[in-house]
């Protein structure tokens, strides 16, 4: 579907003014890899109400949905984030905070959590949200006949033991200590508040926008919810999300003023966007696109081969080629913005000699491997191509096998020996629970390290944050030395918007527009 020729044609025609303006803008962005804070970009005005914000989104398809149990593609997350409120959310610095929940406290051994809702939160039909709705929302997620995406974050829940303590408060017991329950809800795969008797065909939530119309694969329209609990938000009167199949038409629409915001651009179009008077925001997202090696299959069952492969990558070079230098260098450990991330672990560099030495010691000189890749996210296929080139230096022959996205996530998903993937940002321990435990639903590397598993169990019972961070550091050292992931860098999130859009911030959460935070944006 993507052809370099088309993008080149469009950006080539605008290359006249691009060099100066692009350079100027990137300099103004502060060289994104060095910036660690996220300040709102300069906006000339105070927030004002009114107007229609039109967003052009890629990633949609006829499988678009409004069901908060199963958002799959970017447009789904965008819709769900604005139609519903979650209990916990992340701010632009990727710090979790309570959104529609007012309090979440564990008991002494972290086996029971007490959750209290804010008062005065109204659904789009005017009803107030109460504990009954919260219980219904939770049960809907873990319904065994149709489990939602967040069912994993609720593993071990004892739904029969949920108690309603008062009009707004419930207590939720688990069959095991779960100190990280709050953290595991801090991403967009989470518990969204829905009313008792929720019908996905006529969805209502407590979010800042209510549904006006929805055509899967094409367009959805939302109107401002006047009685939204977090006044004065939202600012705009109407939100229109339009599906685009292709970046070229998305960018054209932005340049012609037919949309106000576009998501997930490649670095190639930064120039044509800025030279036409539109704006770009480059965020240091915490989302990650790893190379995945199955530690239970040859040749990667030998840890020396895994270590060698990690040493093959010239990380700054790859980031330069694929994302024009935007992004954050990675060290093969995920959750870079978590306060529990160990920034003290020495940064891995390319070391071809050591890589060759390790491969020789493992008896794998002149290794040939197949790398399965697909257009699953911006830049993924490019990364694979660069890796293949860099691997040749160490005598490793990498055969690229590009499949369609549907094939990639088909029956072979999680079984590929050497492939890639993309993840949104989550804090460290919840991410471990999703990816690197033998019980993890998406354990693509088939990692199963006994010490690591034991440490995780220990962390789950540790409520003290400092002690938990120590445990996390020890686990990260195991990821660093023995893991099956190669994480060369954390890709940037590049979004485009018109000059009349205000309230856009740079964000670490790894999805566009600070996790689709259209409630905080306004138009001049």
């Amino acid at each position: 579907m993507r052809t370099v020729t088309r993008r080149e044609l469009l950006s080539g025609a605008a290359k006249g003014g691009l060099a100066l303006s692009a350079g100027g803008l990137i300099a103004a962005c502060g060289g994104s890899s060095k910036t660690t804070s996220s300040h709102p970009l300069p906006s000339a005005t105070k927030p004002r109400h009114g107007g229609t914000l039109t967003i052009g989104l890629t990633g949609g398809s006829s499988s678009d949905t409004l069901d908060p149990n199963s958002p799959v593609n970017n447009t789904d997350y965008a819709r769900v984030a604005n139609l519903y409120d979650a209990l916990v959310w992340q701010d632009a610095n990727a710090r979790p905070y309570l959104r529609v929940a007012e309090e979440m406290t564990p008991n002494k051994d972290a086996t029971t959590w007490t959750i209290r809702l804010r008062k005065g939160v109204l659904f789009h039909d005017g009803r107030e949200a109460t504990a009954d709705d919260l219980i219904f929302s939770i049960k809907r997620v873990v319904n065994p006949k149709a489990p939602g995406e967040a069912a994993n974050a609720l593993h071990g829940i004892d739904t029969g033991g949920i108690r309603k303590l008062d009009r707004y408060t419930i207590s939720v017991p688990f069959s095991h200590p779960y100190s990280t329950f709050f953290l595991s809800l801090a991403n967009n795969i989470t518990i969204y508040l829905v009313p008792v008797g929720f019908d996905p065909k006529r969805p209502i939530g407590t979010g800042p926008f209510k549904l006006v119309s929805f055509t899967p694969g094409q367009r959805s329209v939302f109107a401002r919810w006047e009685h939204y609990w977090d006044q004065p938000l939202p600012y705009v009167d109407q939100l229109v999300m339009v599906d685009y199949s292709d970046e070229s038409s998305q960018v054209n629409a932005l340049l012609a003023g037919q949309v106000d915001c576009v998501n997930l651009l490649s670095q190639d179009v930064i120039g044509s966007v800025t030279s036409s008077g539109k704006k770009i925001v480059v965020s240091d997202g915490g989302g990650w696109n790893p190379f995945t090696m199955r530690v239970d299959q040859p040749p990667f069952d030998d840890v020396r081969v895994r270590q060698a492969f990690r040493l093959i990558v010239d990380r700054p070079k790859m980031m330069e080629i694929v994302f024009g230098g935007h992004g954050t260098i990675g060290n093969d450990i995920f959750a870079i913005w978590d306060s529990a991330y160990d920034h003290g672990i020495p940064q891995r560099q390319q070391d071809i000699e050591q890589a060759k030495h390790l491969l020789k010691a493992a008896g794998r000189e002149g290794l040939t491997v197949q790398l399965v890749t697909a257009d699953i996210a911006q830049g993924v296929v490019n990364m694979a191509q660069v890796f293949a080139q860099q691997a040749a230096l160490a005598g490793v022959k990498v055969n690229l096998r590009k499949v369609t996205v549907t094939d990639f996530y088909g029956p072979n998903y999680l079984k590929w020996v050497f492939a890639q993937d993309y993840w949104y940002y989550q804090p460290y321990l919840p991410q471990v629970q999703q990816a690197t435990l033998p019980t993890a639903p998406f354990n693509e590397t088939h990692f199963d390290n006994p010490r690591y598993n034991a440490l995780y169990q220990q962390a789950l019972s540790t409520l003290d944050e400092a002690k938990r961070t120590e445990i996390a550091h020890e686990m990260q050292m195991i990821d660093y030395t023995e893991g099956g992931y190669i994480i060369p860098f954390f890709p940037p999130v590049i979004d485009g918007y018109g000059a009349n859009v205000q309230g856009v911030v740079r964000s670490k959460v790894g999805s566009s527009f600070n996790d689709w935070d259209f409630r905080s944006m306004w138009l001049t």
Binding site: M1, T3, R6, L9, L10, A13, A14, S61, S62, S63, D64, T65, S70, V72, N73, P144, K145, A146, P147, E149, N152, I189, S213, T215, P216, G217, Q218, R219, V242, Y244, S245, D246, S248, S249, Q250, N252, A253, L255, A256, Q258, S276, I376, T404, V405, T406, D407, Y409, G410, P411, N412, Y413, D421, Y422, P441, F442
Partner: protein, 337 residues
């Protein structure tokens, strides 16, 4: 019905057929068309089953876990045997029910019907405009054979044939929307519920693209057919008789140039039906090409079958029409055989 009346009915039918060969042709072709439709539906159904994965994988994407896959497969009835799935689909079709999309549960006819209309409008309007303009230019070029106009037009036609569709599309966008002028919208995202003819400005660039893409073929065929007609004996006779140049051109040469031109126009309409997908991507036009690509990606069988049936029916229809028009335009062929 007694054997005698049945026999008489058959004789009357055959006599009718002999006296109205055109109607017989249309009826026979239509029957063959229905058989084609059925065969195509079987082949496409089998092909989609042969692809790895199914709609459950597509709907769940990277969030698929074994439990959720099972739940979705059960919900979509994908765990039934293939033959029974096909049978229930075709049973529905014969009752006029094209089923629900596996990707989002909406009625296929309600979801894809408007997109078929959108694409049809694009194809028909581009076809008509392209044919009229290219045809007129072709006739003009033939009338002024070997003039500078003829040479320039022929070279330009050749050049345009070499350009891929998306290059033409993007060139038009750059010229009229984004860089040089800002007169026309760069994308044609017609809102659902709105008809194409209510959004004429959005249609200009996509129609222009498609018309430009098919114009060279019609131009060259029109020119070639006209030249051949003008070199024929009867035209020479008409000229020697002293008829005006215009009369000779329009009333004697032109009608005989129609059959080959009609064939080419038909071929180009068929090409448009398939080639429209590129234009839909570049202009984000909500048409049937993009819907089909998306449906294949999602292994959305009811949608795939519906779109394929519509396209096949269109092919059959265009084939019949072009043959009929060509026959009507050449009285000689009507009475032969």
């Amino acid at each position: 019905m007694s054997v005698l009346t049945a026999r008489m009915g058959a004789v009357r039918l055959r006599g009718f057929g002999r006296r109205h060969p055109l109607v017989r042709l249309v009826v026979m072709r239509a029957c063959l068309g229905v058989v084609t439709l059925w065969l195509v539906s079987v082949v496409i159904f089998a092909a989609t089953q042969a692809l790895p994965g199914n709609a459950a994988y597509a709907v769940l994407g990277h969030t698929a876990t074994p439990q959720r896959l099972q739940a979705v497969e059960a919900e979509l009835h994908l765990n039934r045997p293939v033959v029974s799935q096909y049978e229930s689909w075709i049973g529905g079709v014969l009752r006029g029910d094209f089923g629900s999309s596996l990707a989002n549960g909406e009625s296929v006819a309600a979801l894809i019907g408007p997109r078929v209309v959108n694409s049809a409008v694009l194809v028909v309007v581009s076809g008509v405009i392209g044919t009229l303009i290219a045809g007129a230019l072709g006739v003009l070029a033939a009338a002024r054979r070997d003039s500078w106009f003829d040479h320039v037009a022929s070279v330009v036609a050749l050049g345009v044939t070499a350009l891929p569709e998306f290059v033409v599309a993007i060139a038009l966008v750059i010229l009229f929307s984004v860089l040089v002028l800002h007169a026309l919208p760069a994308v044609s995202a017609i809102p659902p519920g709105s008809e194409p003819w209510q959004n004429l400005k959005e249609l200009v660039l996509p129609v222009a693209t498609l018309a430009i893409v098919i114009a060279p073929y019609i131009f060259r065929m029109a020119r070639g057919a006209m030249v051949e007609a003008m070199e024929s004996d009867y035209v020479e006779m008409a000229r020697l008789k002293g008829l005006t140049r215009r009369r000779v051109l329009l009333l004697h040469a032109f009608p005989n140039a129609i059959p080959p031109v009609v064939q080419v126009v038909g071929l180009n309409l068929l090409y448009l039906a398939g080639g429209i997908v590129v234009v839909e991507y570049v202009f984000n036009y909500p048409g049937v090409g993009a819907a089909l690509v998306d449906a294949v990606s999602n292994r959305d069988i009811p949608v795939i079958q519906f779109v394929v049936l519509v396209l096949t029916a269109f092919y059959v229809f265009v084939n019949i029409i072009t043959d009929v028009v060509a026959l009507l335009a050449s009285p000689r062929r009507r009475t032969a055989g």
